[in-house]
C-alpha cells in the first residue's frame, strides 16, 4: 500500500501494552452515565418549565419578579439551570472529543468547561437575585 503512510514504532513493546500506556478510557463510563442521569432529571424539570412558560408568556417584569420570588419556583428554576448547563457541558464535550483532535483538544475542552461554568453561575445569580429581592407585594 502507500509507503509514506507506513507507521514506525520506536519502542519495542506489544501493541496492547503500548495502547495501555497511552492511557485507557480514563473516567470509564462516568461521562456517559452522568449525561444519562442529568437527562432523566431534566425530563420532569422540562415539563415544569413548559408550564411556567405558558404562565409567563407575554408577561411584564412585575409578573416575572413575583413569580421568581416564590421559593418553590426559584428552587425548580435553580435545579433546571444547574442541570441544563451541566448536561450541556457533557454533551458539547462529546462533540469536541469527536471533531477536535491533537493539541487543540485540551484548550477547546477547557474553554467549554469555563464557559459552561460561567453561564451556569450567571443563571444561578440571576435566579437568586429574583428570589431574594424584597417582596414587592408587601410594600404595595
Amino acid at each position: 500500500m502507500n509507503a509514506s503512510h507506513t507507521p514506525r514504532i520506536d519502542v519495542m513493546r506489544s501493541q496492547l501494552g503500548r495502547a495501555r500506556g497511552l492511557g485507557a478510557g480514563k473516567a470509564g463510563v462516568d461521562h456517559w452515565w452522568l449525561e444519562r442521569m442529568s437527562a432523566v432529571a431534566l425530563v420532569p424539570l422540562s415539563g415544569w418549565f413548559v408550564l411556567q412558560v405558558l404562565r409567563l408568556a407575554g408577561a411584564e417584569q412585575q409578573d416575572v419578579v413575583e413569580w421568581g420570588g416564590k421559593p418553590a419556583n426559584a428552587s425548580m428554576l435553580l435545579a433546571l439551570m444547574v442541570l441544563t448547563f451541566y448536561h450541556m457541558q457533557l454533551g458539547l464535550q462529546v462533540i469536541i472529543d469527536d471533531y477536535v483532535h491533537g493539541k487543540a483538544h485540551l484548550p477547546a475542552s477547557l474553554l467549554l468547561k469555563g464557559a459552561a461554568l460561567l453561564i451556569g453561575l450567571f443563571a444561578v445569580i440571576a435566579v437568586l437575585k429574583l428570589a431574594l429581592a424584597p417582596s414587592t407585594r408587601a410594600a404595595a
Binding site: R8, L54, Q62
Partner: protein, 153 residues
C-alpha cells in the same frame, strides 16, 4: 503517535511488516436514511438548545435587573425575528427531548432492533412537529390574550 486511537489503526501485513489499517468510508458513500438524519439532528438540536438556553439566561438576568432591562429584552421577544428564534429554540428543545427519550429507551434495551428503530423514526418526526406547533400556538396565544387584557384594563 499522540492519540490512543492511532494504536488501533496499526496492523500487520501477512509478511509481518506494519501497516495502517484502512479508515471507514466517508459519509457520501452511504444511501440516505432517516435514522442517520435524526441522529445528527439530535446533536444539532442539542447545540441549538444550548444556545437558546444562554439567551434564556439573558431574559432571566434582565428580569432580575429591573423594568428597563426587561423592556429591552421585550423588544427582542416581541420582534418577528425574535419570535422566529423562539420558534427555532422550541423546535430544537422538543426534538432533543423526543430523541433523548428514544436514547434512554435504547439504553434500557427497548426498541433497539433495526426494524423498530426504522418504525419509530417517522413517529419521532411527527411527535416533534405536532408538539412544537401546539406549544408555539399556546405560547403566542397566551401572550396575545395577556396583551389584549392589558389594553382593555
Amino acid at each position: 503517535m499522540q492519540d490512543v486511537r492511532d494504536a488501533l489503526y496499526i496492523g500487520h501485513r501477512s509478511d509481518g511488516t506494519l501497516t495502517r489499517r484502512p479508515m471507514s468510508p466517508h459519509l457520501q458513500v452511504y444511501r440516505f436514511r432517516l435514522s442517520m438524519f435524526l441522529s445528527i439532528a439530535n446533536r444539532a438540536a442539542g447545540v441549538a438548545a444550548a444556545a437558546g438556553a444562554t439567551l434564556g439566561v439573558c431574559w432571566l438576568n434582565a428580569a432580575s435587573k429591573g423594568p428597563e432591562s426587561f423592556k429591552k429584552v421585550q423588544k427582542v421577544t416581541r420582534n418577528p425575528l425574535g419570535k422566529l428564534a423562539l420558534a427555532g429554540w422550541t423546535l430544537a428543545l422538543v426534538y432533543h427531548f423526543v430523541a433523548g427519550l428514544r436514547h434512554l429507551a435504547w439504553d434500557a434495551g427497548y426498541r433497539f432492533e433495526k426494524k423498530e428503530i426504522n418504525e419509530d423514526g417517522p413517529v419521532a418526526v411527527g411527535v416533534t412537529i405536532g408538539a412544537t406547533l401546539v406549544l408555539l400556538a399556546s405560547i403566542f396565544g397566551v401572550a396575545a390574550c395577556r396583551s389584549r387584557k392589558k389594553k382593555a384594563s
